[in-house]
């Protein structure tokens, strides 16, 4: 099948069935399908890659229709070719069919063995990893497609890569908005006196989180006493009343409508919670700072929501809230974060969930007797006065500081040295010191030697240094830390690095298959060995092909790779020999040692 192609002169190309067709020349070969119209001015030239052809249909000879061949591509395009006669069409069709089959076969074979135990999700994951990591893709192409390793073996060592992705998918928790809910402004239409509030579940959640009394009221009243819409209308009416700072009106309306009163009064539930919290606070803590948001205090200070500082009649006191209280409450709720994960539209569910959460946390927080006792003890400890207490004798543990000299000098006794007679050494040393002192005296007397350095010597030194520096520069490069790899041309560098990774992969599989216990491992090792010999020869070829000035360094780089491969080959040969020796058993043909 390879290299064959089909050509046809009298073909008409139709883009759809109704199209009369443009006459032209069709050529199909293994890689590509080319249609060139006879009329050079027409623009229906077509080039399609054969692997994109998904399916083909043709009209039957028996029918009265003209001979058409209909090709569909993976991209969803349709091409219809009208032939002059049926035999032509058949040859074309057969050719296309053969190509299709060839394409599909290897894919099917590869896919069928490995998809037995894989889910689609894992396949997708593998494709994604291959796409992202080009190095991995290269390795995959080299080994799996040349049948050296199977898919499973390839991925077996990379379980970490496959498993990690799923962990990343855990959702990140969203926090609450820091904008205050009460800052929501309604939309007004200028003509009537109506205002419209837009309530989203987000806002409802925040209202319930900040004001437990509202939540409680919601649970109590809806749907028994009023609808949700009425509830919110009343709530916003209460808000409006607050904002008008008209406490007299607020008091009046509260007296009339008991539900409204709930919204206008200070939040009882919150007050109860804070009172409990206060009881549990450490007495040494300064509570002055907390007065701003404590519901149990009088409110004769603090600015109102709109900045005024009116003094209020005492009976209407409860209908006012200060900005500080609102801010603090809101901040506390935002910092606490989202305590429930319920994402539901139904307000009632949200309200109930929040109540449950609060109840649970309250139950946890309730102090048991033991905890109480412990707290009292702790308080008395902290509040104690040191002068009045008895002296405490803490149990002491002595420090053990090791002498660092032990560490440095402990092994002095083990030093092996060229033995010298101790006396001889003493004499040597004494003499040497004498010589040294003489030198110093001499230089003090005579001063610096003149001339300090002979010019010829100086010149020699300069030239040798220059030589050293220039040769070193050629070999190493300007920076001693610079890697030699960077000086290679890019293609060579890539090749070297790719060889490293592929050899690592091969060797990993090779060494893990020893000792050989099953025939499967045996074939695997055989295949690996062939691939390794292949790589070995490639490395040799690369060494030859590199420029002469880089050759030495490249061979230094390549040497450890070849050594590792050699070790593997040796092991393989030795093992093979051992096996054949074992399998041949006691038989010893003549002359065979």
């Amino acid at each position: 099948m390879a290299g064959e192609q089909v050509e046809n002169r009298g073909v008409k190309y139709k883009s759809s069935i109704k199209d009369p067709g443009t006459p032209g020349f069709l050529r199909i070969n293994e890689v590509m399908l080319l249609f060139v119209p006879n009329d050079p001015k027409s623009d229906s030239k077509l080039k399609v890659q054969t692997k994109n052809i998904k399916s083909h249909k043709n009209t039957k000879e028996a029918s009265n229709k003209p001979p058409w061949l209909h090709l569909t591509t993976y991209q969803g395009r349709n091409h219809i070719f009208e032939f002059e006669n049926y035999p032509d069409m058949h040859t074309c069709r057969d050719f296309v069919a053969a190509l299709d089959k060839n394409d599909e076969e290897p894919k099917k074979a590869a896919v069928s063995t490995s998809t037995e135990q894989l889910s689609i999700k894992e396949l997708e994951l593998r494709f994604k990893l291959l796409k992202e990591n080009s190095e991995l893709q290269r390795l995959h192409k080299q080994f799996v497609e040349s049948k050296v390793l199977t898919e499973d073996e390839f991925w077996a060592t990379r379980k970490k890569l496959l498993g990690k992705d799923s962990i990343r998918k855990s959702k990140q928790q969203l926090g609450l908005k820091s904008m205050m809910v009460s800052g929501i402004k309604p939309s007004t239409d200028g003509r009537t006196n109506r205002v419209t509030f837009n309530l989203t579940p987000e806002i409802i959640f925040q209202i319930f989180a900040e004001k437990p009394a509202v939540r409680q009221a919601f649970i109590n009243y809806v749907p028994s006493k009023m609808t949700e819409k009425d509830f919110w209308t009343k709530y916003f009416r209460a808000e409006y009343l607050y904002s008008t700072k008209n406490t007299a009106v607020a008091a009046a309306e509260a007296a009339e409508d008991e539900e409204l009163a709930v919204f206008l009064k200070p939040d009882e539930i919150l007050a109860r919670e804070t009172r409990q919290k206060i009881r549990r606070v450490d007495p040494t803590l300064d509570m002055e700072a907390d007065e701003g948001d404590d519901y149990s205090h009088l409110m004769d200070h603090g600015i109102q929501r709109d900045g005024t500082m009116d003094v209020v009649e005492p009976q209407n006191d409860q209908f006012k809230r200060s900005l500080l209280q609102d801010l603090n409450r809101h901040a506390a709720v935002v910092l606490e974060g989202r305590s429930i994960d319920v994402d539901s539209e139904d307000t009632r569910i949200v309200a109930e969930a929040l109540t449950r959460v609060k109840q649970v946390s309250k139950a946890d927080g309730e102090t048991t007797k033991d905890a109480n006792q412990e707290r009292l003890e702790r308080m008395s400890r902290v509040a104690g006065m040191e002068d009045l207490q008895a002296p405490q004798n803490f149990p002491l543990a002595p420090l053990s500081i090791k002498d660092p000299r032990d560490y440095f000098e402990s092994q002095q006794g083990n030093i092996v040295n060229v033995p010298r007679g101790a006396k001889g050494l003493k004499r040597n040393v004494h003499e040497a010191y004498g010589l040294l002192k003489e030198s110093i005296v001499e230089i003090r007397a005579t001063g610096l030697s003149d001339p300090l350095i002979k010019p010829e010597v100086s010149f020699e030194v300069f030239s040798s240094l220059t030589r050293t520096i220039s040769t070193a520069k050629n070999i190493i490069g300007k920076n001693p830390r610079e890697s030699f790899l960077d000086r290679l041309p890019k293609s060579t560098k890539d090749e070297v690095l790719h060889h490293w990774t592929s050899i690592q992969e091969l060797l990993r599989h090779f060494w893990s298959s020893y000792p050989i216990t099953t025939p499967y491992l045996h074939t695997k090792v055989g295949k690996l060995k062939d691939a390794m010999s292949n790589t070995y020869s490639k490395l040799d070829a690369m060494k030859e092909s590199v420029q002469s000035d880089l050759r030495h360094q490249v061979s230094l780089l390549v040497r450890p790779m070849q050594q590792a491969l050699d070790a593997a080959f040796q092991h393989y040969e030795a093992d093979l020999q051992r096996r054949t020796a074992k399998s041949s058993g006691g038989e010893r043909p003549n002359g065979y040692v």
């Binding site: 083990n414 610096l448 300090l452 190493i476 001693p480």
Partner: protein, 301 residues
Amino acid sequence: MPSVASKQYSDDVSLLVLLLDTNPLFWSNTSITFSQFLSHVLAFLNAVLGLNQLNQVVVIATGYSSCDYIYDSSLTSNHGNFESRGTGMPPLFASLLKKLEDFVTKDEELSREEGHEDRTPSCLLSGSLSMALCYIQRVFRSGHIHPQPRILCLQGSPDGPEQYVAVMNSIFSAQRLMVPIDSCYIGVQNSAFLQQASYITGGVHHTPKQLDGLFQYLTTIFATDLHSRGFVQLPKPIGVDFRASCFCHKKTIDMGYICSVCLSIFCEHHKKCSTCGSVFGQSKLDEASSVSDKKRKAPHT
């Protein structure tokens, strides 16, 4: 007047700490005499001081049993009323030589007291490195404006492997302080410590071939300050000898055992690490060989 001083301070002010090898065992058999060597070195110091008005030089003598500060150019007592006896010596270095002589006498007394265990004829490099680093640390803490310090190690004695740990510790402290250690080795064998020191701290290592041209080597290679080194190409060694000494026998080894807890190096298998006390398990090699033996027997039956 701090402002004037800061104006005068340019990038290339340097503080050179010179570690001078005064090991008598080395100097008793070299091609160059100690006095010739000293004249090269003193001329070099003069040259360094002449490069910049604010340069400073400190000389530490590395003896056989002790080390000491010999000369500090920033002290004003150098130029004091010292009668220079001879003809040739500039008064700048007269005090240096005097102190050197005193130091050698003291060192001799110490080595006499010490009782002469068998020791490689090495100088006390670890001691002088530590002293140099202490001085440099003091300079760092003296204020914002200070010269850029570097250490130049002029040595001819071979390495003492018993000092491996101490020397490596000093090298790492120098690396931390970002102080390069240059080294000029004038001895016969190769010094692994000095090569490693220069490599790790980013300094220059060179082994001059011609000792009578020592002054030329010193001024060409080691006189450049740290700022100018970015523009000047200095000779670099082709390779570095990274061998370590084992902790048990102080031999130089290139393959050995390492404790996984404290990274101490041993040349032979131990049951317990002598530095950190951790107990080692059975070696993996023994286990693996026994297992593979068993496995190979199985298919045989």
